[in-house]
Amino acid sequence: MIGRVSSSAINSTLVGHIQNNYLDFAKLTEQLSTGKKINSILDDTLQSVNIINSNRQLGKIDIWSANIGSLTNEIKQSSETIELVMEKGQRAKDLATSAANGTSNKDNLISTLTELDNIIKSVVDMANTSYNGNYIYGGTNTKTQPYSIQYGIDADGNPTDEIIGIKYNGTAIDGDWKRQLEIADGVFETCNVTGMAAFGECDVEPVYQADGVTPVLDADGNPTYTENSNSGIMGDLIDFRNALSDTIKKLEEQENLPENATQAEKDAIGAEIKACYDSINGLLDGFDDSITQMTTVNSKFGTVTNKLEMSTEALSTSKLNLEEYISGIQDLDITEAISQWYTSQTAYQASMQTATSIMSMSLLNYM
């Protein structure tokens, strides 16, 4: 029985070979039609896990890149807004400088007051800028306008159109409420500065009697106000406006002095006007400080923007590397695959051809 071969053994061996060749052929055909070496985790269990991890990382990079884009835009808008406010602050300071030198007459000062009111209104508008539906200077109170202008009242308690204060409504009266976006695993970048930190406020309220409706009047019969807070450029603007309107009042009093006023009375009012000019002059340093404060905030924005630019570069580099890595694992070398495909096709055909000729051969053909 040495070297015995049986028909059924040959047949099953041949079928086995054909199936193996067909399997190779089918596998290569699938790889070629998808362009990928690894189409299922069963194809290569080890590398599949690498592909999955890398794809996960790529997904994160996409999110971080989108966040960086969003951060950059919001910071750019915040920065532009703060620069515009600085310009207005500078203009207000110029007005203050020229008002303080005492050469302006009453009419000049009145027109200065009108311009100052416009400056105040546009500064408040700028501080109320929103980005993507959020007020950018409101801290985390993103849905309420962060600044509102406060108007005075008359002796009966009815509102007038005289600006008396600028109130901050955002969060973080004490505290620094940040809105943050993730730019790397566990790394968050802040996209906002509260209006309080950038512009300050000047919250002024009328003083009422116990009934809460009737204003408390001063000796001259005017309503009285309490100043709850005063800081930043907002405080400066209101201070300047108060000083200016005091000056105008004194100049009016001077004009309205009766013909027979004594020299002492004239001197007294002159001294008061002088004091008013001095107080305007005293505000100039405050303006400088507030502008410096805004410059500091703006340079912080600049630092963050630079950091974000660097992160963008780093992210796009690692994205490129990851894509290259995945492609290296998963993508098919088409040239090699096609030549293998032809080889396996030939092997498949050959195995079928030999099988049919061997299986049809027997002594029966010669009997």
Partner: protein, 536 residues
């Protein structure tokens, strides 16, 4: 001198012998494709007379008496037998295990869009979006959608795994489900083969009363033994009379012409009831419990431990709670993942200092005292334990306006006695969401203890890694075992199979011998006629 009549007798025996030989060839050719058939071969022997011959040539010639068939022998090989059956048993065990792990791996084929990775990542992406627009309705709804997709994927995967388990061993409760399971079918098949074997034994006993063997019955016997060995590695002892004694761990299943013990299978619930009735400690963890019902003797209620080989062993393994990667262990891992997800996010959602929006979407309110109403993840079936099968989104959050209940804001300095410690207008405060996003990298909180303080993604990767490496290992084991069996198969077929050329050669050989014998017969006949006519 031998007589003409003796010669005539010799040629007639040759005719008969060759005819028998041709009939064996014919049987071989007829069965050339019969599975398990072994080629039969006619052994011829010279007939002789046992007489004293001395120096007498004529007597010497008289001792020749023609030809006879001594035996019809089947080709056997050393590869058939217990070694081959051990290998068959191992093969069906490994192939079943491989099939089971491949089914699981297919459910987690991330490259084909299966699995949970995308759902987990999308959940974190939705959190990122919510961080950017915490007071935005669409960001909130988008987050709940992502959370729901995550729970749905977990439910779906768990239900698929449970289906696989039910397909193997039933659901452990319903007998109907057990009857549709693989374990039930296998047990039935074993029982049928036991019957068949007892039947063959009794036929062999009836048929093989002398020294000659009934080749076809022996082929059938080997075939049944091979079949049985695929289900479990039974011990077989072949007796002198050709019958087989089959036993499992010392318990005789088939002996002589009788089935001595039959298998049966019961649900885990049935077994539990039995244990309670008889005061037995139930340590069974499988959904199906195999029993051994002895014809003469008590029924063994649970022999799962003994059934650790072959197809049955592998089916029981696919759902065992022992170490390894199978439906049960993967389900347990997913349950742990589901519990961790629920713990981590519910804890942040309901912690002190976490605030959500009121229904107008404006200001932020204090979390209610009834914290459970604000949990993000809960169970769909009301049970206290969160599993991958029942994890779902709190329905209160899915109600109209329920999305506002997501606690986006967090005030670390919140003091319940001091209302000024929070700013009720801070709708843009997303610090609680940031804390949730941070769970990607910061896994130190106690809620992460259950998964070893690693991130959810890493834990899931761990599950994937376990599945893929088990798939590789089991595929390799099955492939090499298939090669072993297939080479044994080929060797067996080579040595015992019918070869057409061989049979045709035999056919021509015996045909020629038959023709020649008939020529001798005719010649003798003519000679006898001549002799008869001599006297006329």
């Amino acid at each position: 001198m031998s007589s003409l009549l003796t010669t005539l007798g010799m040629s007639s025996s040759a005719l008969g012998v060759n005819q028998t030989a041709i009939s064996v060839v014919s049987n071989n050719i007829a069965n050339m494709n019969t599975e398990g058939y072994s080629k039969q071969k006619v052994n011829l022997g010279a007939l002789f007379l046992d007489i004293p011959i001395g120096n007498n040539v004529a007597s010497q010639a008289k001792t020749n008496a023609g030809v006879e068939v001594i035996s019809i022998e089947r080709y056997t090989t050393t590869f058939i037998g217990s070694y081959y059956r051990d290998q068959l048993s191992e093969q069906s065990y490994l192939n079943k295990e491989q099939q089971a792990i491949t089914n699981i791996a297919n459910m987690f084929d991330e490259l084909k869009g299966q699995g949970l990775d995308t759902a987990i990542e999308d959940f974190y992406a939705a959190l990122d979006n919510l961080n950017q627009y915490p007071s935005d309705m669409s960001a909130r709804i988008n987050f709940l959608d992502a959370a729901q997709t995550l729970t749905n994927s977990m439910n779906k995967t768990a239900s698929n795994l449970n289906d696989l388990k039910e397909l193997s061993v039933g659901d452990g409760v319903s007998y109907e489900s057990l009857k549709n399971s693989e374990i039930y079918t296998s047990i039935q098949a074993i029982n049928q083969n036991l019957e068949k074997l007892a039947n063959i034994n009794s036929m062999i006993t009836r048929s093989q009363t002398g020294t000659l063997e009934n080749n076809s019955l022996l082929d059938q016997r080997d075939q049944v033994l091979n079949e049985l060995s695929q289900y479990a590695n039974f011990k077989t002892t072949i007796q002198d009379n050709g019958t087989v004694t089959l036993s499992l761990n010392g318990t005789k299943l088939v002996g002589g012409t009788n089935v001595l013990a039959k298998f049966n299978v019961q649900t885990a619930q049935q077994y539990d009831e039995y244990c309670q009735m008889n005061g037995i400690v139930n340590t069974n963890e499988s959904n199906a419990v195999i029993m051994l019902e002895k014809t003469n003797g008590p029924t063994l209620q649970n022999i799962n431990d003994r059934m650790d080989t072959g197809l049955v062993g592998a089916i029981l393994n696919t759902s065992s709670t022992q170490e390894g990667v199978n439906v049960n262990t993967v389900l347990n891992d997913l349950d742990t993942l589901a519990q961790t997800i629920a713990n981590v996010f519910n804890e942040l959602q309901t912690r002190e200092g976490a605030f959500y929006l009121d229904n107008a979407g404006g200001t932020i309110q204090l979390s209610n005292a009834n914290l459970e109403d604000y949990e993000i993840f809960t169970t769909s079936d009301g049970s206290a334990n969160i599993t991958a099968s029942n994890i779902s989104i709190n329905s209160l959050l899915l109600e109209d306006g329920g999305y506002n209940k997501i606690a986006t804001a967090y005030f670390p300095d919140y003091d319940p006695l001091n209302p000024d410690s929070v700013d009720l207008n801070a709708v843009g405060n997303a610090d609680n969401i940031i804390a949730m996003i941070n769970t990607k990298t910061d896994n130190t909180s106690a809620a992460f203890d259950s998964i070893g303080n690693i991130s959810l993604s890493d834990y899931y990767s761990g599950i994937l890694g376990k599945i893929t490496s088990a798939t590789t290992a089991k595929t390799n084991a099955a492939t090499s075992q298939n090669a072993v069996v297939s080479s044994l198969d080929t060797k067996t077929k080579e040595q015992t199979g019918v070869d057409l050329n061989e049979e045709l050669t035999d056919l021509v050989k015996f045909q020629t011998a038959y023709s020649a014998s008939s020529r001798v017969f005719t010649t003798c006949n003519t000679l006898l006629e001549t002799l008869v006519n001599l006297g006329l």
